[in-house]
Amino acid sequence: MAAAASMMPIFGHQISSKNDLVPDWNREEVSTGTTIMAVEYDGGVVIGADSRTTTGAYIANRVTDKLTRIHDRIYCCRSGSAADTQAIAEVVSYQLGFHSVELDEPPLVETAANLFRASCYRYREELMAGILVAGWDRRKGGQVYCVPIGGMLVRQPVAVGGSGSTYVYGFMDSNYKPGLNKDQCLELTASALSLAMERDGSSGGVIRLASISEDGVERRVILGDQLPRFSTH
Protein backbone atom coordinates (compact mmCIF):
# COMPACT_ATOMS: atom_id res chain seq x y z
CA MET A 1 0.00 0.00 0.00
CA ALA A 2 3.09 2.23 -0.05
CA ALA A 3 2.29 3.51 -3.54
CA ALA A 4 -1.27 4.42 -2.57
CA ALA A 5 -0.13 6.20 0.60
CA SER A 6 2.13 8.53 -1.36
CA MET A 7 -0.78 9.48 -3.64
CA MET A 8 -3.06 10.31 -0.73
CA PRO A 9 -5.88 12.55 -1.94
CA ILE A 10 -6.36 15.77 -0.03
CA PHE A 11 -9.60 15.85 1.90
CA GLY A 12 -12.01 18.28 0.39
CA HIS A 13 -11.47 17.50 -3.29
CA GLN A 14 -13.53 15.42 -5.70
CA ILE A 15 -16.05 13.22 -3.96
CA SER A 16 -16.28 10.45 -6.57
CA SER A 17 -17.00 10.00 -10.29
CA LYS A 18 -16.86 12.71 -12.90
CA ASN A 19 -20.54 12.34 -13.74
CA ASP A 20 -21.68 15.07 -16.13
CA LEU A 21 -25.11 15.19 -14.57
CA VAL A 22 -23.64 16.37 -11.27
CA PRO A 23 -22.54 19.98 -11.72
CA ASP A 24 -19.36 21.52 -10.31
CA TRP A 25 -20.88 23.09 -7.27
CA ASN A 26 -22.12 19.75 -5.97
CA ARG A 27 -18.64 18.34 -5.87
CA GLU A 28 -16.75 21.19 -4.27
CA GLU A 29 -16.47 21.51 -0.56
CA VAL A 30 -18.52 24.27 1.02
CA SER A 31 -16.30 27.18 2.03
CA THR A 32 -17.19 30.29 3.95
CA GLY A 33 -14.84 32.40 1.70
CA THR A 34 -15.46 35.34 3.89
CA THR A 35 -14.69 38.61 5.53
CA ILE A 36 -14.67 38.65 9.31
CA MET A 37 -13.52 41.33 11.71
CA ALA A 38 -13.17 41.91 15.41
CA VAL A 39 -12.25 45.10 17.31
CA GLU A 40 -11.58 45.69 21.00
CA TYR A 41 -12.82 48.73 22.82
CA ASP A 42 -12.72 49.71 26.46
CA GLY A 43 -15.44 47.55 28.01
CA GLY A 44 -15.99 44.99 25.28
CA VAL A 45 -15.55 43.92 21.68
CA VAL A 46 -17.34 44.43 18.40
CA ILE A 47 -17.41 41.56 15.91
CA GLY A 48 -18.72 41.47 12.37
CA ALA A 49 -18.99 39.17 9.37
CA ASP A 50 -20.55 38.98 5.91
CA SER A 51 -23.15 36.30 5.20
CA ARG A 52 -22.07 34.39 2.11
CA THR A 53 -21.29 30.64 1.98
CA THR A 54 -20.03 29.36 -1.36
CA THR A 55 -19.64 25.94 -2.98
CA GLY A 56 -17.32 26.72 -5.85
CA ALA A 57 -19.15 29.42 -7.80
CA TYR A 58 -22.56 28.78 -6.25
CA ILE A 59 -23.77 30.64 -3.16
CA ALA A 60 -25.09 27.86 -0.96
CA ASN A 61 -26.39 30.21 1.72
CA ARG A 62 -26.70 33.99 1.33
CA VAL A 63 -27.83 34.63 4.88
CA THR A 64 -25.26 32.65 6.85
CA ASP A 65 -24.55 33.49 10.45
CA LYS A 66 -20.79 33.28 10.87
CA LEU A 67 -20.81 34.74 14.36
CA THR A 68 -21.11 31.65 16.50
CA ARG A 69 -21.80 31.66 20.21
CA ILE A 70 -19.23 29.74 22.22
CA HIS A 71 -20.30 30.98 25.62
CA ASP A 72 -22.45 33.76 27.09
CA ARG A 73 -19.81 36.44 26.53
CA ILE A 74 -17.54 34.68 24.04
CA TYR A 75 -18.19 34.47 20.31
CA CYS A 76 -16.13 33.30 17.38
CA CYS A 77 -16.05 34.45 13.76
CA ARG A 78 -15.63 31.55 11.34
CA SER A 79 -13.81 31.51 8.00
CA GLY A 80 -12.53 28.66 5.86
CA SER A 81 -14.31 25.35 5.45
CA ALA A 82 -17.90 25.54 6.69
CA ALA A 83 -17.96 21.96 7.92
CA ASP A 84 -14.60 22.19 9.70
CA THR A 85 -15.38 25.44 11.48
CA GLN A 86 -18.83 24.31 12.55
CA ALA A 87 -17.37 21.09 13.95
CA ILE A 88 -14.54 22.86 15.79
CA ALA A 89 -16.91 25.47 17.21
CA GLU A 90 -19.17 22.73 18.58
CA VAL A 91 -16.27 20.88 20.14
CA VAL A 92 -14.87 24.01 21.75
CA SER A 93 -18.34 25.06 22.93
CA TYR A 94 -18.70 21.77 24.69
CA GLN A 95 -15.21 21.84 26.20
CA LEU A 96 -15.60 25.41 27.41
CA GLY A 97 -19.06 24.76 28.82
CA PHE A 98 -17.77 21.81 30.77
CA HIS A 99 -14.75 23.80 31.99
CA SER A 100 -16.99 26.65 33.07
CA VAL A 101 -19.24 24.32 35.09
CA GLU A 102 -16.16 22.81 36.77
CA LEU A 103 -14.83 26.25 37.69
CA ASP A 104 -18.28 27.53 38.60
CA GLU A 105 -17.51 30.87 36.99
CA PRO A 106 -17.65 32.36 33.49
CA PRO A 107 -14.68 31.21 31.38
CA LEU A 108 -11.90 33.47 30.14
CA VAL A 109 -11.66 34.50 26.49
CA GLU A 110 -8.02 33.41 26.54
CA THR A 111 -9.14 29.90 27.54
CA ALA A 112 -11.56 29.72 24.63
CA ALA A 113 -8.86 30.95 22.25
CA ASN A 114 -6.44 28.34 23.54
CA LEU A 115 -9.02 25.58 23.06
CA PHE A 116 -9.46 26.68 19.44
CA ARG A 117 -5.73 26.80 18.97
CA ALA A 118 -5.29 23.32 20.46
CA SER A 119 -7.71 21.77 17.95
CA CYS A 120 -6.56 23.85 14.97
CA TYR A 121 -2.88 23.14 15.59
CA ARG A 122 -3.18 19.45 16.35
CA TYR A 123 -5.24 18.76 13.24
CA ARG A 124 -3.67 21.43 11.09
CA GLU A 125 -3.12 19.04 8.13
CA GLU A 126 -6.76 17.98 7.99
CA LEU A 127 -8.49 21.25 8.82
CA MET A 128 -8.99 24.48 6.94
CA ALA A 129 -10.19 26.97 9.53
CA GLY A 130 -9.37 30.60 10.23
CA ILE A 131 -11.08 31.80 13.39
CA LEU A 132 -11.32 35.03 15.36
CA VAL A 133 -12.20 34.51 19.02
CA ALA A 134 -13.62 37.57 20.73
CA GLY A 135 -15.40 38.26 23.97
CA TRP A 136 -15.47 39.90 27.35
CA ASP A 137 -14.39 38.54 30.70
CA ARG A 138 -13.91 40.07 34.13
CA ARG A 139 -10.15 39.69 34.24
CA LYS A 140 -9.02 41.44 31.05
CA GLY A 141 -12.18 43.01 29.65
CA GLY A 142 -12.70 42.95 25.90
CA GLN A 143 -10.21 40.78 24.01
CA VAL A 144 -9.70 39.65 20.42
CA TYR A 145 -7.60 36.59 19.61
CA CYS A 146 -6.67 35.49 16.11
CA VAL A 147 -6.32 31.75 15.31
CA PRO A 148 -5.49 31.59 11.59
CA ILE A 149 -4.97 28.50 9.40
CA GLY A 150 -2.10 26.50 10.86
CA GLY A 151 -3.05 27.07 14.47
CA MET A 152 -1.18 30.18 15.60
CA LEU A 153 -2.59 32.15 18.51
CA VAL A 154 -2.03 35.87 18.92
CA ARG A 155 -3.95 38.60 20.71
CA GLN A 156 -4.58 41.75 18.70
CA PRO A 157 -6.60 44.90 19.38
CA VAL A 158 -8.14 44.64 15.90
CA ALA A 159 -8.14 41.67 13.54
CA VAL A 160 -9.60 40.79 10.15
CA GLY A 161 -9.80 37.40 8.51
CA GLY A 162 -11.08 35.47 5.54
CA SER A 163 -10.57 35.89 1.81
CA GLY A 164 -11.91 39.45 1.82
CA SER A 165 -9.59 40.63 4.56
CA THR A 166 -6.73 41.27 2.15
CA TYR A 167 -8.71 44.13 0.61
CA VAL A 168 -9.16 45.99 3.87
CA TYR A 169 -5.81 45.75 5.65
CA GLY A 170 -4.97 49.26 4.45
CA PHE A 171 -8.32 50.65 5.55
CA MET A 172 -7.98 48.99 8.94
CA ASP A 173 -4.42 50.16 9.51
CA SER A 174 -5.20 53.75 8.63
CA ASN A 175 -8.54 54.05 10.40
CA TYR A 176 -8.09 52.14 13.64
CA LYS A 177 -6.90 54.14 16.61
CA PRO A 178 -6.74 52.89 20.18
CA GLY A 179 -9.38 54.44 22.40
CA LEU A 180 -12.40 54.20 20.09
CA ASN A 181 -15.78 53.78 21.72
CA LYS A 182 -18.40 51.15 20.90
CA ASP A 183 -20.27 53.12 18.24
CA GLN A 184 -17.07 54.09 16.46
CA CYS A 185 -16.01 50.45 16.47
CA LEU A 186 -19.35 49.41 14.99
CA GLU A 187 -19.00 52.02 12.27
CA LEU A 188 -15.42 50.97 11.53
CA THR A 189 -16.39 47.30 11.29
CA ALA A 190 -19.41 47.96 9.09
CA SER A 191 -17.35 50.15 6.75
CA ALA A 192 -14.48 47.68 6.49
CA LEU A 193 -16.82 44.77 5.81
CA SER A 194 -18.73 46.76 3.23
CA LEU A 195 -15.53 47.63 1.39
CA ALA A 196 -14.36 44.02 1.44
CA MET A 197 -17.73 42.73 0.25
CA GLU A 198 -17.58 45.19 -2.62
CA ARG A 199 -14.30 43.80 -3.90
CA ASP A 200 -14.22 40.14 -2.85
CA GLY A 201 -16.41 37.77 -4.86
CA SER A 202 -16.58 35.26 -2.04
CA SER A 203 -17.98 37.81 0.43
CA GLY A 204 -21.37 39.41 0.27
CA GLY A 205 -24.96 39.36 1.43
CA VAL A 206 -25.73 41.18 4.65
CA ILE A 207 -23.46 42.40 7.43
CA ARG A 208 -23.97 40.74 10.77
CA LEU A 209 -22.65 42.68 13.75
CA ALA A 210 -22.50 41.92 17.44
CA SER A 211 -21.15 43.83 20.39
CA ILE A 212 -20.16 41.92 23.52
CA SER A 213 -19.71 43.57 26.89
CA GLU A 214 -20.37 42.94 30.55
CA ASP A 215 -24.05 43.71 29.98
CA GLY A 216 -24.46 41.05 27.33
CA VAL A 217 -24.54 40.57 23.58
CA GLU A 218 -26.29 42.93 21.19
CA ARG A 219 -26.79 41.62 17.67
CA ARG A 220 -27.79 43.52 14.60
CA VAL A 221 -28.01 43.07 10.85
CA ILE A 222 -27.29 45.59 8.12
CA LEU A 223 -29.26 44.59 5.02
CA GLY A 224 -27.89 44.81 1.50
CA ASP A 225 -29.55 48.08 0.60
CA GLN A 226 -28.40 49.80 3.80
CA LEU A 227 -24.70 48.97 3.45
CA PRO A 228 -22.32 51.93 3.81
CA ARG A 229 -21.49 53.13 0.31
CA PHE A 230 -18.09 54.46 -0.69
CA SER A 231 -17.60 54.21 -4.41
CA THR A 232 -18.72 56.93 -6.72
CA HIS A 233 -17.92 55.00 -9.91
Binding site: P23, V30, T53
Partner: protein, 275 residues
Protein backbone atom coordinates in the same frame (compact mmCIF):
# COMPACT_ATOMS: atom_id res chain seq x y z
CA UNK B 1 -23.24 6.32 28.39
CA UNK B 2 -26.69 7.59 29.32
CA UNK B 3 -29.64 5.42 28.25
CA UNK B 4 -31.51 8.20 26.54
CA UNK B 5 -28.69 8.92 24.13
CA UNK B 6 -28.46 7.31 20.81
CA UNK B 7 -26.55 4.10 20.05
CA UNK B 8 -23.01 4.60 18.80
CA UNK B 9 -22.52 3.72 15.17
CA UNK B 10 -20.64 0.40 15.19
CA UNK B 11 -17.04 0.55 14.02
CA UNK B 12 -17.72 -2.07 11.36
CA UNK B 13 -20.03 0.31 9.43
CA UNK B 14 -18.72 2.09 6.35
CA UNK B 15 -15.24 0.98 5.42
CA UNK B 16 -13.21 3.35 3.32
CA UNK B 17 -9.96 1.39 3.24
CA UNK B 18 -10.10 1.29 -0.52
CA UNK B 19 -10.88 4.95 -1.07
CA UNK B 20 -7.23 5.99 -1.37
CA UNK B 21 -6.44 2.97 -3.52
CA UNK B 22 -9.36 3.77 -5.85
CA UNK B 23 -8.33 7.39 -6.15
CA UNK B 24 -4.82 6.30 -7.09
CA UNK B 25 -6.14 3.74 -9.60
CA UNK B 26 -8.43 6.28 -11.24
CA UNK B 27 -5.41 8.43 -11.89
CA UNK B 28 -3.44 5.53 -13.39
CA UNK B 29 -6.15 4.38 -15.79
CA UNK B 30 -7.22 7.95 -16.57
CA UNK B 31 -10.73 7.46 -17.82
CA UNK B 32 -13.87 6.00 -16.28
CA UNK B 33 -12.93 2.37 -15.74
CA UNK B 34 -14.22 2.26 -12.20
CA UNK B 35 -17.97 1.47 -11.99
CA UNK B 36 -20.04 4.59 -11.43
CA UNK B 37 -22.31 4.63 -8.37
CA UNK B 38 -26.02 5.17 -8.84
CA UNK B 39 -26.53 8.93 -8.43
CA UNK B 40 -29.94 10.41 -7.89
CA UNK B 41 -29.15 13.56 -9.99
CA UNK B 42 -32.12 15.19 -8.41
CA UNK B 43 -34.30 18.14 -7.61
CA UNK B 44 -35.42 18.38 -4.01
CA UNK B 45 -36.93 21.38 -2.26
CA UNK B 46 -38.41 22.41 1.05
CA UNK B 47 -40.44 25.36 2.29
CA UNK B 48 -41.45 26.41 5.80
CA UNK B 49 -45.03 27.68 5.84
CA UNK B 50 -47.43 28.94 8.49
CA UNK B 51 -48.42 25.58 9.97
CA UNK B 52 -45.44 23.38 9.15
CA UNK B 53 -43.05 22.28 6.43
CA UNK B 54 -43.58 21.12 2.84
CA UNK B 55 -40.94 18.90 1.22
CA UNK B 56 -40.87 18.03 -2.46
CA UNK B 57 -38.78 15.80 -4.72
CA UNK B 58 -38.70 14.42 -8.24
CA UNK B 59 -38.65 10.64 -8.75
CA UNK B 60 -35.87 9.92 -11.24
CA UNK B 61 -32.79 7.88 -10.28
CA UNK B 62 -30.01 7.83 -12.88
CA UNK B 63 -27.03 5.57 -13.49
CA UNK B 64 -24.88 7.73 -15.76
CA UNK B 65 -27.13 8.38 -18.78
CA UNK B 66 -29.72 5.70 -18.10
CA UNK B 67 -32.79 6.23 -15.93
CA UNK B 68 -32.47 3.40 -13.45
CA UNK B 69 -35.68 4.06 -11.51
CA UNK B 70 -38.63 6.14 -12.71
CA UNK B 71 -40.49 6.09 -9.43
CA UNK B 72 -37.72 6.38 -6.87
CA UNK B 73 -38.72 7.59 -3.41
CA UNK B 74 -36.46 10.42 -2.37
CA UNK B 75 -38.42 11.63 0.63
CA UNK B 76 -37.36 9.35 3.46
CA UNK B 77 -39.08 8.76 6.76
CA UNK B 78 -37.00 9.72 9.77
CA UNK B 79 -39.59 9.88 12.52
CA UNK B 80 -43.34 10.61 12.71
CA UNK B 81 -42.61 14.32 12.71
CA UNK B 82 -39.46 14.51 10.58
CA UNK B 83 -38.87 13.63 6.93
CA UNK B 84 -35.72 13.94 4.88
CA UNK B 85 -35.11 14.49 1.16
CA UNK B 86 -31.86 13.09 -0.15
CA UNK B 87 -29.72 14.08 -3.14
CA UNK B 88 -26.36 12.65 -4.14
CA UNK B 89 -25.40 9.00 -4.17
CA UNK B 90 -28.61 6.95 -3.82
CA UNK B 91 -27.09 4.27 -1.61
CA UNK B 92 -25.55 6.81 0.74
CA UNK B 93 -28.72 8.84 1.24
CA UNK B 94 -30.79 5.68 1.72
CA UNK B 95 -28.49 4.12 4.30
CA UNK B 96 -27.73 7.34 6.15
CA UNK B 97 -31.39 8.19 6.57
CA UNK B 98 -32.17 4.62 7.62
CA UNK B 99 -29.45 4.75 10.25
CA UNK B 100 -30.70 8.08 11.51
CA UNK B 101 -34.27 6.82 11.64
CA UNK B 102 -33.28 3.73 13.64
CA UNK B 103 -31.28 5.76 16.12
CA UNK B 104 -34.11 8.22 16.62
CA UNK B 105 -36.61 5.37 17.14
CA UNK B 106 -34.43 4.10 19.95
CA UNK B 107 -34.34 7.57 21.43
CA UNK B 108 -38.14 7.85 21.16
CA UNK B 109 -38.66 4.53 22.85
CA UNK B 110 -36.25 5.41 25.63
CA UNK B 111 -37.59 8.87 26.33
CA UNK B 112 -41.22 8.66 25.20
CA UNK B 113 -40.86 11.79 23.07
CA UNK B 114 -40.83 12.65 19.41
CA UNK B 115 -37.31 13.68 18.46
CA UNK B 116 -36.55 17.30 17.69
CA UNK B 117 -35.39 18.29 14.22
CA UNK B 118 -32.23 19.85 15.62
CA UNK B 119 -31.35 16.47 17.16
CA UNK B 120 -31.62 14.71 13.82
CA UNK B 121 -29.50 17.44 12.25
CA UNK B 122 -26.79 17.16 14.89
CA UNK B 123 -26.56 13.38 14.56
CA UNK B 124 -26.29 13.67 10.78
CA UNK B 125 -23.70 16.39 11.01
CA UNK B 126 -21.57 14.35 13.42
CA UNK B 127 -21.68 11.31 11.17
CA UNK B 128 -21.05 13.06 7.87
CA UNK B 129 -18.22 15.15 9.28
CA UNK B 130 -16.57 12.05 10.65
CA UNK B 131 -16.50 10.59 7.12
CA UNK B 132 -15.01 13.73 5.58
CA UNK B 133 -17.25 13.89 2.52
CA UNK B 134 -16.83 10.22 1.55
CA UNK B 135 -20.56 9.75 2.11
CA UNK B 136 -22.10 11.61 -0.83
CA UNK B 137 -25.32 12.68 0.85
CA UNK B 138 -26.88 16.12 0.39
CA UNK B 139 -29.91 16.11 2.65
CA UNK B 140 -32.83 18.43 3.30
CA UNK B 141 -34.40 17.76 6.69
CA UNK B 142 -37.78 19.16 7.53
CA UNK B 143 -39.98 18.64 10.52
CA UNK B 144 -42.29 19.99 13.16
CA UNK B 145 -41.55 19.67 16.85
CA UNK B 146 -42.42 21.40 20.11
CA UNK B 147 -40.07 24.29 19.28
CA UNK B 148 -41.62 25.07 15.90
CA UNK B 149 -41.30 24.31 12.18
CA UNK B 150 -37.76 23.76 10.97
CA UNK B 151 -35.96 23.22 7.69
CA UNK B 152 -32.26 22.36 7.58
CA UNK B 153 -29.80 21.24 4.96
CA UNK B 154 -26.81 19.02 5.70
CA UNK B 155 -23.99 18.76 3.17
CA UNK B 156 -21.70 15.78 2.54
CA UNK B 157 -18.85 17.38 4.47
CA UNK B 158 -21.05 17.96 7.47
CA UNK B 159 -21.97 21.64 7.21
CA UNK B 160 -25.49 22.70 8.11
CA UNK B 161 -27.64 25.63 7.04
CA UNK B 162 -30.94 26.62 8.58
CA UNK B 163 -33.12 28.58 6.16
CA UNK B 164 -36.85 29.05 5.47
CA UNK B 165 -36.67 27.63 1.93
CA UNK B 166 -34.21 25.37 0.14
CA UNK B 167 -33.44 23.44 -2.97
CA UNK B 168 -30.73 20.84 -3.50
CA UNK B 169 -29.53 18.42 -6.16
CA UNK B 170 -28.54 18.96 -9.76
CA UNK B 171 -31.78 20.79 -10.49
CA UNK B 172 -31.43 23.16 -7.55
CA UNK B 173 -30.73 26.29 -9.55
CA UNK B 174 -33.94 25.98 -11.54
CA UNK B 175 -35.96 25.19 -8.42
CA UNK B 176 -34.36 28.01 -6.45
CA UNK B 177 -35.37 30.50 -9.12
CA UNK B 178 -39.01 29.67 -8.52
CA UNK B 179 -38.57 29.68 -4.75
CA UNK B 180 -36.74 33.01 -4.64
CA UNK B 181 -39.51 34.58 -6.69
CA UNK B 182 -42.50 33.08 -4.91
CA UNK B 183 -41.47 32.63 -1.27
CA UNK B 184 -43.06 34.72 1.47
CA UNK B 185 -43.10 34.13 5.22
CA UNK B 186 -46.23 32.45 6.66
CA UNK B 187 -47.60 31.01 3.43
CA UNK B 188 -50.88 29.10 3.54
CA UNK B 189 -50.87 25.34 2.96
CA UNK B 190 -52.14 25.37 -0.62
CA UNK B 191 -49.79 28.21 -1.59
CA UNK B 192 -46.83 26.37 -0.10
CA UNK B 193 -47.70 23.11 -1.88
CA UNK B 194 -48.09 24.94 -5.17
CA UNK B 195 -44.76 26.73 -4.70
CA UNK B 196 -42.90 23.49 -4.01
CA UNK B 197 -44.63 21.72 -6.89
CA UNK B 198 -43.70 24.54 -9.26
CA UNK B 199 -40.09 24.53 -8.11
CA UNK B 200 -39.69 20.77 -8.54
CA UNK B 201 -41.39 21.04 -11.91
CA UNK B 202 -38.86 23.68 -12.96
CA UNK B 203 -36.07 21.34 -11.91
CA UNK B 204 -37.62 18.48 -13.87
CA UNK B 205 -38.00 20.61 -16.99
CA UNK B 206 -34.57 22.23 -16.89
CA UNK B 207 -32.34 19.44 -15.60
CA UNK B 208 -31.58 16.16 -17.34
CA UNK B 209 -30.87 14.38 -14.09
CA UNK B 210 -34.35 15.09 -12.70
CA UNK B 211 -37.62 13.95 -14.11
CA UNK B 212 -40.75 11.86 -14.06
CA UNK B 213 -43.15 12.49 -11.22
CA UNK B 214 -43.23 14.89 -8.27
CA UNK B 215 -43.66 13.74 -4.68
CA UNK B 216 -44.83 16.09 -1.94
CA UNK B 217 -44.72 15.61 1.81
CA UNK B 218 -46.60 18.00 4.11
CA UNK B 219 -45.63 17.89 7.78
CA UNK B 220 -47.75 19.72 10.34
CA UNK B 221 -48.44 19.41 14.04
CA UNK B 222 -51.53 17.39 13.19
CA UNK B 223 -49.60 14.82 11.17
CA UNK B 224 -47.99 14.00 7.88
CA UNK B 225 -49.51 13.96 4.39
CA UNK B 226 -47.18 12.05 2.05
CA UNK B 227 -48.59 12.46 -1.45
CA UNK B 228 -46.84 10.17 -3.87
CA UNK B 229 -47.08 11.13 -6.67
CA UNK B 230 -48.44 14.65 -6.31
CA UNK B 231 -48.06 15.39 -9.97
CA UNK B 232 -47.52 12.80 -12.66
CA UNK B 233 -45.21 13.32 -15.59
CA UNK B 234 -46.87 14.57 -18.79
CA UNK B 235 -44.59 12.27 -20.72
CA UNK B 236 -45.71 8.96 -19.24
CA UNK B 237 -45.41 6.26 -21.88
CA UNK B 238 -48.44 4.11 -22.61
CA UNK B 239 -47.24 0.63 -23.40
CA UNK B 240 -49.34 -1.14 -26.02
CA UNK B 241 -47.53 -4.45 -25.87
CA UNK B 242 -48.33 -6.83 -23.04
CA UNK B 243 -45.32 -8.42 -21.39
CA UNK B 244 -47.22 -11.26 -19.72
CA UNK B 245 -46.83 -14.53 -21.58
CA UNK B 246 -49.33 -17.41 -21.37
CA UNK B 247 -47.99 -20.73 -20.10
CA UNK B 248 -47.22 -22.78 -23.23
CA UNK B 249 -45.87 -19.83 -25.23
CA UNK B 250 -42.43 -21.44 -25.26
CA UNK B 251 -42.71 -24.89 -26.95
CA UNK B 252 -41.07 -27.88 -25.23
CA UNK B 253 -38.85 -29.72 -27.73
CA UNK B 254 -37.41 -32.57 -25.64
CA UNK B 255 -37.86 -33.90 -22.12
CA UNK B 256 -35.32 -35.92 -20.16
CA UNK B 257 -36.01 -37.27 -16.65
CA UNK B 258 -33.10 -38.35 -14.43
CA UNK B 259 -34.05 -39.99 -11.10
CA UNK B 260 -31.71 -39.24 -8.24
CA UNK B 261 -30.60 -42.38 -6.38
CA UNK B 262 -31.05 -41.63 -2.69
CA UNK B 263 -30.74 -44.13 0.13
CA UNK B 264 -31.53 -43.65 3.81
CA UNK B 265 -28.20 -43.69 5.66
CA UNK B 266 -29.27 -42.77 9.16
CA UNK B 267 -32.56 -41.97 10.84
CA UNK B 268 -32.66 -40.15 14.14
CA UNK B 269 -35.79 -39.14 16.06
CA UNK B 270 -35.48 -36.33 18.59
CA UNK B 271 -38.40 -35.63 20.88
CA UNK B 272 -39.17 -31.98 21.49
CA UNK B 273 -39.28 -31.03 25.15
CA UNK B 274 -42.71 -29.48 25.44
CA UNK B 275 -43.05 -29.61 29.22
Amino acid sequence: MALSTVLETPGAGFNFENATRNAALEGLFGGGQTPKPLKTGTTIAGVVFKDGVVLGADTRATSSEVVADKMCAKIHYISPNIYCCGAGTAADTEKTTDLLSSNLSIFSLNSGRNPRVVMAVNILQDMLYRYHGQIGANLILGGVDCTGNHLYTVGPYGDINKVPYLAMGSGDLAALGILEDGFKHNLELEEAKELVRASIHAGIMSDLGSGNNTDICVITKQGVDYIRPYQESEYKDKRNIKYRYRPGTTPVLTEKVVTLKLEVVQEAVQKMDTA
